[in-house]
Symmetry: C2
Subunit: 253 residues, 2 copies
């Protein structure tokens, strides 16, 4: 089998997917948002080891940043207005777990999503901080179970998408639209984009090794000064490849 460059993943939600936490991540998250990720440490150690051995650093080790591949379980992004309708006037989301992207968190708060066939998904995790639009991101397996026919969309591009009803402990909130399957994508800082020779909106491939090896051929590139190098796939994709912390992953132009 081909040698791959990076070995990592974690999850935004423990529901329905296998979940891996370093215990210190669990303990530190309340006091220390975004501690140094294990992938970053491994990347630095790998570079140092090759240097110490006097051997040339392999291509993946020369990348400015390590590749982190995350499975994004179903979740929603909400406006402050929606949060208050669901959890009460003045309610603020409480961070439960800090995510890899700076300042992003899985909130303690969850909601119930009601589908058109009166089926529900309970404990739908809210990701914070609040945004300027309401969006629910599901895998197709979730959507089919619920009875939604949802489109594949880039996050934020929700025009013409189906809506739904959210239930919280203090009330309901009706979304006129915003239920999507998020397009698989990679977040990149401009220095990562330069290293891989890609621009925002380009497509790359993500090669995943192991017994369920797959190449994801259409990986949308998103570039921003605030982004850390991170791939987001959904639970269908993550379970299709049985992604684990030591599953080899490689980003290819």
């Amino acid at each position: 089998m081909k040698t791959f460059g990076s070995f990592c993943k974690f999850f935004v939600d423990e529901i329905r997917i296998r979940c891996f936490f370093a215990s210190d991540e669990r303990l530190d998250m309340a006091v220390q948002p975004n501690p140094v990720h294990r992938a970053v440490v491994e990347h630095l150690v790998r570079q140092a080891v090759y240097q110490r051995m006097g051997k040339p650093v392999p291509a993946t080790g020369q990348a400015p940043n390590p590749l982190v591949v995350n499975v994004s379980a179903r979740h929603c992004h909400l406006t402050q207005e929606a949060v208050e309708a669901l959890f009460g006037k003045g309610h603020q989301l409480t961070p439960m777990k800090w995510l890899y992207q700076e300042g992003q968190f899985a909130a303690k708060e969850t909601v119930t999503l009601v589908g058109p066939r009166s089926r529900v998904i309970s404990n739908l995790r809210i990701l914070g901080p609040c945004r300027t639009l309401n969006q629910v991101e599901l895998a197709y397996t979730d959507a089919i179970a619920l009875g939604f026919d949802i489109p594949l969309r880039q996050s934020g591009k929700i025009e013409g998408t189906p809506g739904g009803m959210l239930m919280g402990p203090e009330g309901f909130f009706e979304m006129p639209d915003g239920i999507i399957r998020a397009e698989r994508h990679v977040h990149m800082h401009p220095e990562d984009a330069a290293h891989y020779g890609v621009s925002a909106g380009d497509r790359m491939k993500l090669k995943i090794g192991g017994p369920c090896a797959v190449t994801f051929d259409e990986m949308l590139v998103r570039v921003d000064e605030s982004f850390k190098l991170e791939v987001h796939i959904d639970t269908d994709e993550g379970n299709a490849v049985n992604l684990k912390p030591d599953t080899p992953c490689e980003l290819v132009k």
Copy 2:
């Protein structure tokens, strides 16, 4: 995007996955096991059209048989003994829908699978005819929801795999082992294997196009005189690529 060669899929079960039936397949299945599959007709028409136009038939059209890609939803294979324990003495499975492989069918009968955390999957479809071993095939999403940690196995290789409890209308049946994720695979007649230049046990790639394009890199080749050319992937894989009847698929060595 690359041009792919074949456009087809159908499902063994309508639960949790989108399902496509030609209406005549629904009507005919009781009286006519394994009618000519639409993919076979399309393959013949494609060959005839190129011939009529006086143009060379493209590589995929030259294959002896069309490529059929099926999503295999969670299901089980049972022994006659297990069927009788679950449905009563002397009970015979009743075909509900004939599958693409000759003589194989989705039975009217379903069972309930009880997981180790007392969660259940109800309406687990039985595929017939009866076999000499009991085996439950789940996607990882199913297994995680149930609380099973299941291994990836070739069908029939169930030594050391976890077991579980099945419930039917007339009784229980305990499986000491046999709960697996079936390895993605392609069934081939020896003439297909000769055409693609592969042997039983080899691995091929399945390229799937469209907006959720994926290359499944480890596709086990199974060869038998009785087999028709057919790929089986599970619901995680099918939903990861959003497989639909017109999704382009290509088998590559």
